[in-house]
Amino acid sequence: MNITLDEDKCCAAGQCVLVAPEVFDQRDEDGIVVLLDAQPPAEQHAAVHEAAAICPAAAIQVHA
């Protein structure tokens, strides 16, 4: 798995942080998404897919 983000789209709703806190964080200055681990281990994959699915701004892309 390889994750990419579109920071410009991010609206800082923070749902990815709730769902996958080991993969996503929020930047202190403005709450915009920060990637902690672009290639997370298998046990995180379900949570990452969930985060991408509920992201209101479609800012998270998950590549196989």
Binding site: K9, C11, A12, A13, G14, Q15, V17, L18, V19, P21, D25, Q26, R27, D28, E29, D30, G31, I32, E50, A53, I54, P56, A57, A58
Partner: protein, 406 residues
Amino acid sequence: MTVTSPHAPLPVEPPTGCPFDPPAEFGRMRIEEPIKKISLPDGTWAWLVTRYADIRAILGDTRFSSDTTTPGYPLSGMTGGANQQNRGFIRMDPPEHTRLRRMVTREFMVKKVEALRPEIQRITDELCDAMQSAKLNGAESVDLVEALALPVPSLVISLLLGVPYEDHALFQGLTGKLLSRTIAKEEADAARSELRDYLDRLVTAKEANPGDDILSRLIVEQQHAGEITHDDVIGFAALLLVAGHETTANMIGLTALSMMGEPKTAQQLREDPSLIRGAVEELLRFHSIIRNGPRRAATADIEIGGQLIRAGEGVVVAVPSANRDPEIFENPDALDVCRPNAQHHVAFGYGIHQCLGQALARVELQVVLATLLRRFPTMRPAVPIETIPFRTDMAIYGCHELPVTW
């Protein structure tokens, strides 16, 4: 040109005897006519959208404008509906929406809100102490709306905005009046104007003596840099207050009432508090308190679910319908606190306007739910449920009053 529309209006009445369920018409519409014309109070019409997938497609597409001055924007005419003056960024489009929203997004970050959890617990505990005292002093019942549901978010917002402790009672009194249906319109208008004056004085005080709060940071970082004005800071304060108060308050009332009606679920949550987080997502989905939108105006011809929506046409999306769509949520009319995909709900909206304060709302609801279950395990409605007044007349659903005893 205004022509009286021949279409039925937005359905708002829950099915008889099922106050927690959305209007029954939505179920039929999702199958037969998922994008359908409805009449608006001003005699014009708009598209009503009832399927989850179509609603996400619309709210995720910024060609559907949130600006109430965009041609075709469907005005609701409902209490709590769109206000033309001082619209705030929730009624704006990018790039201005993005610029203003990003000035406050960090204030509602997950980690920032988590740090507030102990304070939110303290506020909740003190209000619960007061409920206990009222009961010990002989009160037969307590109105949970007045005693807990309204004050929790009001006090939390006071904290965020930096309302000084000595003003809390005044602030809470004014915000409570705004949402009361039992006071006369003149009194509510007076409270609105008094609140506006209060926020004006508060911003002036912060300008002179900034503290550790949202308004002070807006003043120091944005107003001083010429990015926004004194009036804009007041506008931010009013928006955060309006957006965070009535919504959370009504979710608290409905959450409590749901638990009183489902003792097995309540017991399950008491025994395993790790289920509280998911339970709150499910309660948000199940109750879907936003009953009059969100609303948008198309700025281009866009096909959604096989229906062409033309530039200049208005769209009303039915959040309660999306959240009960069986295509997404299995057995959608059941409250299932262990539902695996509950967080796919659109109770906070979807797209770039999705609720800015959602992390805060979640923590408030988690704290209140866990505390009520722990401290008032025998709480029950003090009146027959048929006599509880529900807010079918309001943009945000809930109970006007909720007398409880234990």
